[in-house]
Symmetry: D2
Subunit: 398 residues, 4 copies
């Protein structure tokens, strides 16, 4: 349904051509400084029309916070947010509407609901993600303040053009110096330095060529987004079903056009022998434990271990293409679905803030749950029996 999270609960609404889109955040901690200015930047990064590589529509996407704040501070009550749609007219019937668009949601929405929005993608449109991005910005602000959490996503592949480290990882090679450097230091500013949102200049040049090639061919091209979460508190994740990576996978696969998710070593890790894949422990300067390698991607047993979390999300090539397609109508009549207008040949650059937002929602919700786990355990006396020699107080999560 349209709600995500247990204690930090986000509910979204809105289709492509209704009056507006938005969300309600329920469970945001009180006392957080918050204004529209905290939310707008990620909405603007998500907005189409940012470069020659993307669709030229200019949706303004100005957010209004309806409730839940006073004098620039959250009250702990639900935060309603709304963004008006620029084009609110449902669409008149036309010839092309006889065809369910291939690999779109037209046909399945009609089958599921018995009715579908007359224009664009309706609820399956990418406009639906505005509510997510707005909510993610609030979560990020909180996490940044209380735990220094940093979430940075970037484009790691476009079609067959991949960042070099990615090819190695897919083949089960260890993480190299370049990717380690990204894990430790990459910033959103560096990511935004290029329109592709790929932080490696040589690769981003090749990506641009690949995207322009798709554009000129009236075709589209997919890709993948890698995301890094730094300073995620230890202990997040709720086994056995709501393991951290399970809720993360849920979040990512709920983004339109996604086809895959991998955490840490991922599919490539299946090719690494166990004795190399295991992440041995070492003692860190502050006395706590870290892992020498990080094939686990910051999660062990479904619980965050304090190392960098990293994961990758696959996006299929956009289904809307500017060329005619042989297919059939809703009634099964063969025909040609004519091309309409010009479309975004590659959406992965715009997917970057959406991936970040969903990651923030997962961390935030799991963080709030773990705050309860930790506090409620700490209220009990420490354990002393010899059988629990290894026990310790729960780790403060910040």
């Amino acid at each position: 349904m349209s709600t995500f999270g247990e204690l930090f609960r986000v509910t979204t609404y809105g289709e492509s051509h209704c009056k507006g889109v938005g969300c309600i955040i329920d469970g945001c901690p009180p006392g957080l400084p918050l204004t529209e200015d905290d939310v707008q930047p990620q909405l603007s990064r998500r907005r189409p029309g940012q470069s020659a590589l993307t669709t030229p529509r200019d949706e303004k996407d100005r957010v209004t916070i309806m409730s839940g704040i006073e004098f620039g501070t959250t009250l702990g009550t639900p935060i309603g947010m709304t963004v008006p749609n620029q084009d609110q007219r449902p669409h008149d019937y036309s010839e092309t509407d006889l065809y369910p668009r291939p690999s779109h949601a037209d046909w399945t929405y009609l089958k599921k609901y018995g009715v579908k929005a007359s224009s664009g993608g309706g609820r399956a449109s990418a406009r639906e993600t505005i509510g997510r991005v707005a909510a993610g910005a609030v979560a990020e602000k909180y996490l940044k303040i209380v735990a220094g959490v940093e979430i940075v996503a970037f484009v790691s592949s476009v079609g067959k053009v991949e960042l070099p480290y990615l090819e190695a990882l897919e083949d089960g090679q260890p993480i190299g110096k370049d990717f380690s450097n990204f894990l430790d230091h990459l910033t959103r500013e560096q990511v935004d330095a290029d329109v592709t949102r790929c932080p490696d200049p040589a690769t981003s040049e090749r990506m641009k060529e690949r995207i322009m090639q798709a554009k000129e061919a009236n075709d589209s091209v997919g890709g993948s987004v890698t995301c890094i979460i730094r300073n995620c508190p230890i202990g997040l994740g709720e086994p056995c079903f709501d393991k951290f990576e399970a809720t993360l996978a849920h979040a990512m696969l709920s983004i339109p056009a996604t086809k895959g998710f991998e955490i840490g070593s991922g599919f490539g890790g299946t090719k690494i022998p166990g004795h190399l894949h295991n992440d041995a422990f070492y003692r860190k300067a502050d006395g706590s434990l870290g892992t020498v390698t990080n094939h686990s991607g910051g999660i062990q047993g479904g619980i965050t271990n304090g190392e960098h979390i990293y994961f990758r999300v696959a996006f299929k090539p956009p289904a809307t293409i500017s060329q005619a397609q042989q297919t059939v109508t809703y009634d099964g009549e063969s025909g040609t679905l004519a091309a309409r207008g010009r479309h975004d040949p590659c959406v992965v650059p715009r997917a970057v803030p959406i991936v970040e937002a969903m990651a923030a929602l997962v961390v935030m919700d799991q963080f709030l749950i773990q705050q309860s786990r930790q506090a409620s355990a700490t209220l009990l006396a420490p354990l002393h029996t010899p059988h629990h020699v290894l026990q310790a107080k729960p780790q403060p999560t910040v």
Copy 2:
């Protein structure tokens, strides 16, 4: 937490060395013929000790249905199921317990909970999956009866040994004849014909070699499991957050040792141009629409479209290996964690019924939800306005 699903809700309990493991299924439809004999086969397929390739422990794993049935039929009330543990003794303290095992859950459980089970994996042990498999068997029986749903998983890779089609798909090639044949016809009997649970004899031979090599090296090896769902009703999935593939990803990444999930064309699909990736529609013999290709993997817009669903799950090499490892103790002292006993060098064959079970839980829960969507919409009058010319009654899901 330990509950999965909304209307078909499964809650599991149990660690490796407690009195028993099991589950409660809440929301199973009444009137389903059900006895322990329906549940036992998948538990036995999950059981260790089935071949020379796996660990020789012989856990009996006999299930008892405690409640929810009478005279062999479900009552619609919660179904309690329990499987006793053979070894119920929590373990005595030993030297090796000073070390958190690398890439295990020891350290993160201790950090999260402040205490951990003294023996084995505790709740992070694979014994936890018994409850899932038992519940999945009930879901499967229902789905088979009312909709002819078939769920068949198999091992598609072990280390770098892959089914030939898989290599092609990873590179973005279209589905070939071999995989198409699997999609249409593969059975569990064919899968079980070889101990590797890989249905291609040439590949399974190479897999066996790879596993024996790991065993002899006191090492472990990972792999992947591909799963096919046939005859899944149209219209399942609850956008925007509970898209079918999102809940499926959640389910799969909640299985111990998983690192990745991909649906349909998956990561390979990011490399296919849009005009080839799009699944054009055609009219089927019964007048309904199908897709010519199936890069979507049976799901569009987060909703099942009636085509075969297929997905793949990555499993890391088991963290327990029969060789010593350099690491540190809980207190940060460097040392060597000695090897203990002999362990399963490769778990993917045993993961097959677990993947099937979780897939069944997802289909079942989404099916029950869609029964409500469909029935409640059908009670309303059909739509007649010209603007909804494309509308139809919701598709009966069976």
Copy 3:
């Protein structure tokens, strides 16, 4: 939190002085004719300023449907609704703000959240109920169309002035002719015929006197609202925890200022001997079973039985009174909280549409769940064993 329901899920937002209040309905069946005109009437019935008996503020409370409908029909996607606040200015600090108002939420909100809205009741204000009433109107429209459900609430007591039947019921007497007549025939028009919303003219006169007495004394007075649900389908309710009356009680006690709930014979029923309290069955004209008496209030074993559902909700006297009160400041200093302005001495007439709305949300959600239970059971073969001789197909709920 701020979400109610499982399949028909309502999430509300808004405080007394933010930009607006509203809700998102997730899970509304597609194909329902719906415009703002369906929602406005109940909002207007809830609105203050309707008579000399209530507060003279005139809040316009015009609702806008932001999403989820097209050409006047629901799409099955989330329905966002918003109502602007007339007075959006958080309030300037004043002397009276030093005091937590007795029996208000000021002190507990501050203790729970560490911050509270500067003006009025904030989230604890009755304005919060606007989202509920808007959502309830949508549920009601659906239920009316598909099952002829009728929900009619009325004021049954103000202070010690009670409808005659109520006094009898409190003492454990059987339902008399007058109340039976209400159960069968009472309409909202009849309820609205008097400003008290008490449908018995003699009693309503006495109620008006009681309210005017409170008004003149700068005091307030409580009361109770009785609600009738007719034509509720059989089989709604989800034992053991989500029995129909349990979710109904949850819904009612979530309304501000409520202190009690009773279903059917309620507290008075504890005084009736079992052999008189039991509702014997009889055969109805259509061959199905009804009950001769209805102490059960339409629910047995937590499941609706097709008889009229009736229940009563207690509302305390409003905490805001127009007289000075001896109390202490937040810091514990004794003093007098001065009276401010004129206030509504009795809120039960305005509570009527709120009770109806929450009742509609309960019926709607349980109806959607039961649609799934029924449909999924019906797909299985009928039972034939002699042990189940009494079994039947689940009753179609409409």
Copy 4:
């Protein structure tokens, strides 16, 4: 459904004649000392056959903890508990089975599920409450240790025999000295001193007479249970829908045979003028605020305020009576349902531990949620703006 709670989540299973009943507790804090001996006493208090006033069956009801503890301490993992049924034979078909028992769940279960248990109440039997009582005992133990919470319930009325204070409260009188004394000091030992579980000797004598009268008349009699919660931390409750009293009402109305719930002044409070009903504040010895009176019953705005919580639950007379009843068969044929055996004429004494258990589950779950709210707010900087002059850090809940 059969799950209660969000962070302390209890799921129960079991009918009257299956192999056993029990529950899974998910989310119990780790480090809590726990054995069967902590759970058994409340199960024994719930057990039938404790006195001449109750049914003579002797169900042993010995509980086994299956998982979630090690060396007598909780691990933070799910706690499975099971109690075998003594009589596990589903019942043979007999003449009396042709009749749905009046005011029982027979008919509604059959209508909802299309099948019902052949014997006794099935899932609607009071045996279902064993899982609740077991889980409640665990919650109580935790709450006692960390916050000194005390939960004491007692029988406040049987038929028309009421504790004197109750009659006064029903008429809207203030709380008198006797009830105040109960609020402050009543213990379970005092409650158990008499078989009626009414702590006032004069009243309990009259109750016994009333129960014996019902027994001799082959009739039954209802009553009410009042429950006190002491030392409940401030700040529990999740507005707007999950107010503390709303979840409490949900919990209580989910207990079989309940018909009403009132918190604090309840229905009687509707008769008290506002200026008397308001609970003025005073400064307590420790500097915090208390209320002079407590009509609010310890809750304001849906949030606990630190005063004693008290509420009352109505139980109808048991539907099973030892006399013949005129009614109709499932097929609508008129006839006489013959009396069978001897039955418990009054269940309220046995309901006492069930009410306590459900109260404990509500406090525990809301406590765990508030631990998160409080901890997550405390991590933010204190507020300093003049507009928030009244703000404070969230109150430590223990």
